[in-house]
């Protein structure tokens, strides 16, 4: 029984990828949950907002690279990130002004706003494709590995390697910083508290003199930032392809709903739950079985579901939670 190697295999193929993916989903879900909590609708355009933000970041990254600039061992995209965030924030603020504000004024039902967000989704999707095309783009640069497989094997002498890519490490660190900043903002600053108050009890917030336009603007800006960061981290880690970001809509929403729509802590928890489930269920456990069960022989990959069915996993978790605990794991709000 080779526990150490089994452990390393699990770390390498399950824990590390799932943690990075969970961080990306958490950031995406945070954006969705904030929009839901404060603007009170499910924003179906969020996936394409992530795509747009990442596209701008890529364009700026290329410009920086062409100018010969780089960020040392870290990806140049990190330097380009603020530009992507700024551009996306402008886009969503403009969209709110031109599209969504009207429906808030006439107090349209939330499902109408969701339908409108479908229209916005179309436009953003087309816009992103016009900007950057539909091909797969890899835009990572800088050091590839934090710990490469060979380095690990040499250091530990184990058969099973543990490789941690820089993009994975960056994802987790960036996500941690962003989440900490967001929570500090919401818990400690007057502006952040006004957003929480607005989300909690809109009428009372208005009564207290909280400016709804400012709250709305802050929400969109923060959501745009979260979307751009999530999208860029995902693109750095895997690759950028516009269509994939639409597909991320399902796990992102599943994460937000599982955690409790409107609840930021829930969004983070949900992100990791979904990520770990997706990775664990679609991983071929045969290798680990070989290490743990002496004399294990089988052709069976021990893969519960093929990776094509990743989304089935997030969806199933979503349905289970919705059936048994509709407000989510951490109590969310119903609009």
């Amino acid at each position: 029984m080779d526990i150490l190697n089994a452990l390393v295999a699990i770390l390498n193929y399950v824990v590390v990828p799932a943690t990075a993916y969970g961080a990306q989903l958490a950031l995406g879900a945070l954006g969705v949950t904030l929009i839901y909590g404060i603007l009170r609708f499910s924003n179906f355009a969020h996936g394409d907002t992530m795509a747009f933000g990442t596209a701008i970041t890529i364009l700026v990254t290329w410009a920086l690279q062409a100018a010969g600039l780089s960020f040392g061992p870290l990806p140049t995209a990190l330097v380009a990130l603020p530009f992507g965030i700024a551009a996306t924030a402008l886009l969503v603020l403009g969209t709110d002004r031109i599209v969504y504000a009207y429906y808030r004024k006439v107090r349209a039902a939330p499902v109408v706003l969701t339908m409108v967000s479908v229209g916005v989704m179309f436009v953003m999707n087309g816009l992103t494709r016009v900007l950057i095309g539909v091909d797969e783009i890899k835009f990572t640069d800088g050091a590839r590995f934090l710990i490469s497989a060979q380095e690990f094997k040499k250091a530990t002498g184990l058969a099973e390697p543990l490789a941690i890519r820089t993009t994975q490490a960056i994802t987790v660190i960036t996500a941690a910083i962003v989440v900490a900043a967001l929570f500090w903002f919401l818990a400690k600053t007057r502006a952040g508290k006004s957003m929480r108050a607005f989300s909690d009890n809109e009428d009372l917030a208005l009564l207290s003199g909280i400016n709804p336009n400012r709250v709305v603007a802050m929400t969109w800006i923060i959501a745009a930032a979260l979307a751009t960061i999530a999208g860029t981290l995902y693109g750095l880690d895997k690759s950028f392809k516009a269509f994939n970001y639409f597909q991320l809509l399902l796990p992102v929403f599943a994460a937000a709903i599982v955690g409790g729509l409107g609840n930021p802590l829930g969004a983070i928890a949900g992100g990791f739950i979904i990520a770990y489930s997706e990775v664990a269920v679609t991983y071929a456990w045969k290798k680990v079985a070989i290490y743990l069960i002496p004399g294990y022989q089988s052709d069976n990959l021990l893969q519960l579901l093929s990776t094509e069915y990743k989304f089935a996993v997030s969806f199933t978790i979503l349905i289970i939670v919705l059936l048994f605990k509709p407000t989510g794991l951490f109590k969310g709000k119903s609009v």
Binding site: R190, K193, S194, R196, A197, D200, N201, D203, L204, A205, L206, L207, S208, G209, I210
Partner: protein, 234 residues
Amino acid sequence: MSFLDASSMTGGYGAADILHDCTLKVEKGQIAVIVGPNGAGKSTAMKAVFGMLRLRAGKVTLDGEDITTLSPQERVRKGMGFVPQVNNVFPTMSVEENLEMGAFIRTDDFRDTMEQVYDLFPILREKRHQNAGELSGGQRQQVAVGRALMTKPKLLMLDEPTAGVSPIVMDELFDRIIEVARTGISILMVEQNARQALEIADMGYVLVQGANRYTDTGAALMADPEVRRTFLGG
């Protein structure tokens, strides 16, 4: 002129009028209570004073200033405080954060005011870091009143503050309201528990179908056999 003078208010939420020539006045430091049967328009009258519905006719003045056209938020800046009947706290925010939000429009240091609120409602000081939504009904009402007091209003309006609380809590709430009035803040209160409310009232307004029916001091209304028969259960 009374401190608050809302005269001849006529209007409603839509096409139909709910209030008909309704008049409410509150003197400085006074407790005025609005009572009446269900559907009499008591809450509507108070919301009209606060500016939450448009009046077809009538005028509202506060400390001599005509505030008829001002929005509720603007009236808060003029010195009105309003405690809604339901949904009157921020449930996922702590007691202290609720009070902070109450003081949102203030640009100065409001810690003194917060201390005063805690002195008035000691249980809130104890539970200052607890979420308002987790408190009992009576404690939540105290948070709601405390929140409204954070702007140091000159007139505090309460919409059925004792709705849904037990009699003991109701007594305690009324005691607190009297203490608030003692600090010089005028009180205008809609109440379902007519008898207990009139007991502490300086002025009582009995509304029926959106119009004034009886207007007198609290004691006089309590003694009036007509009033007792129709609204106080004898």
